[in-house]
């Protein structure tokens, strides 16, 4: 039953989305790899599209993957399943707002989870780098030569350009996306 599988996978993704946005990338990637619904490159493209279109990465991915797996009904199933945990959690919290806010135990648990989300975001960078700046057919090994040859020269240049300028000038993400698209069109 594809609908049930979609429900299960995206409900879990929705339920375990901590840290928002980029932190969810690793989580979705793990599930997509397991079910083979979309390739790493396709997923990287969805993330790129998510920067240019309205809506969170997770919603965009759910809609795209659901549509690919089982048409419009699949897209609806996947998106609703993804949204459902957030809905339930927030309605519950809105109801018990005061008690939740002052709970010391909750505060400590969140203290433990916060650094994990940082680790999740750095993992997302590694995963994305594999499809965006590393050569697919690079040799393995840890010699300097192997490491250097595993990078695709031109896209690494784009990466470094954006990285250094973003660290310095904090441009708007949309501007970064448009500029990298233009650079890609010219030099890649």
């Amino acid at each position: 039953m594809i609908y049930f599988t979609l429900f299960k996978v995206f409900f879990i993704i929705g339920l375990f989305s901590f840290g928002g946005g980029y932190a969810i990338i690793s989580l979705i990637q793990a599930e997509m790899e397991y079910y083979g619904w979309i390739s790493s490159t396709e997923f990287a493209d969805i993330i790129a599209i998510s920067q240019m279109t309205p809506g969170p990465i997770s919603v965009n991915t759910a809609t795209y993957v659901g549509a690919g797996a089982a048409g419009i009904l699949g897209a609806t199933t996947a998106t609703l399943s993804l949204v459902l945990p957030s809905f339930i959690i927030m309605v519950t919290v809105a109801h018990y707002f005061a008690q939740f806010k002052d709970s010391k135990a909750v505060e400590w648990i969140l203290k433990g989870i916060r650094p994990v989300t940082i680790g999740l975001i750095f993992s997302a960078v590694v995963f994305l780098a594999e499809t965006s700046i590393l050569n697919p057919d690079s040799q393995s090994g840890f010699s300097l030569n192997a490491i250097i040859s595993s990078f695709d020269f031109k896209s690494t240049l784009v990466f470094l350009l954006v990285f250094l300028s973003s660290l310095k000038f904090k441009p708007h993400p949309i501007l970064v996306v448009v500029l990298s698209a233009l650079i890609g069109l010219v030099i890649l």
Binding site: A67, F100, K101, P115
Partner: protein, 182 residues
């Protein structure tokens, strides 16, 4: 009475549809727009409530856009309000991706489209790295939290551990800290 409820539901739906349609990228990018629409224009809640909501939301699982909408919708009209707010905020990205999915599939083999996406992929990777560094600077306080962050990175990237497990481990460690300090 029923007429009022229908009007109110529609108003909530439209407000959040608008917020959903005009936020690029989702997440925290949505918050300024929510403040403008729900606090300033509609006065559904005040600034203090929004601040409390942000604080709680950051720490709860789920999608930030959906959570904030459902919360405000609930304040305004209970579960019905939460429902129309959540559907309203999700619908624009749902519709756009359905359209783009078709377009993307038909354009995937175009050489220029491929160049553009190759560029954007490299740029977005850099963008996320910058975000990660910035967040790490502000959120990692003390050597224990740095250790937890590095450990979860190694577990996921090199040992292929499912991210859900690292989140659970972080939660358990936090709870142990609570028991110790109680």
């Amino acid at each position: 009475m029923i007429k009022e409820k229908i009007y109110e539901s529609f108003e909530i739906f439209i407000t959040f549809f608008k917020i959903g349609a005009f936020t690029l990228g989702g997440g925290y990018a949505m918050l300024p727009l929510i403040e403008k629409e729900a606090v300033e224009n509609k006065k559904w809640l005040n600034r203090e409530e929004i601040l409390d909501m942000f604080a709680i939301m950051q720490s709860l699982p789920g999608i930030i856009a959906v959570k904030s909408s459902a919360f405000i919708g609930y304040k305004k009209a209970g579960i019905r309000g939460a429902f129309f707010a959540a559907v309203g905020v999700t619908l624009p990205s749902f519709l756009i991706i359905l359209l783009i999915a078709q377009l993307l599939l038909s354009l995937r083999d175009n050489i220029y489209v491929q160049k553009i996406f190759a560029g954007v992929r490299a740029g977005v990777t850099a963008l996320i790295l910058v975000t990660a560094i910035r967040l790490a600077k502000s959120a990692l306080k003390g050597y224990i939290s740095i250790l937890i962050a590095i450990a979860s990175f190694i577990l996921i990237v090199f040992l292929n551990v499912h991210p859900v497990f690292t989140i659970l481990i972080g939660g358990v460690l936090g709870f142990l800290g609570y028991l110790k300090h109680k």
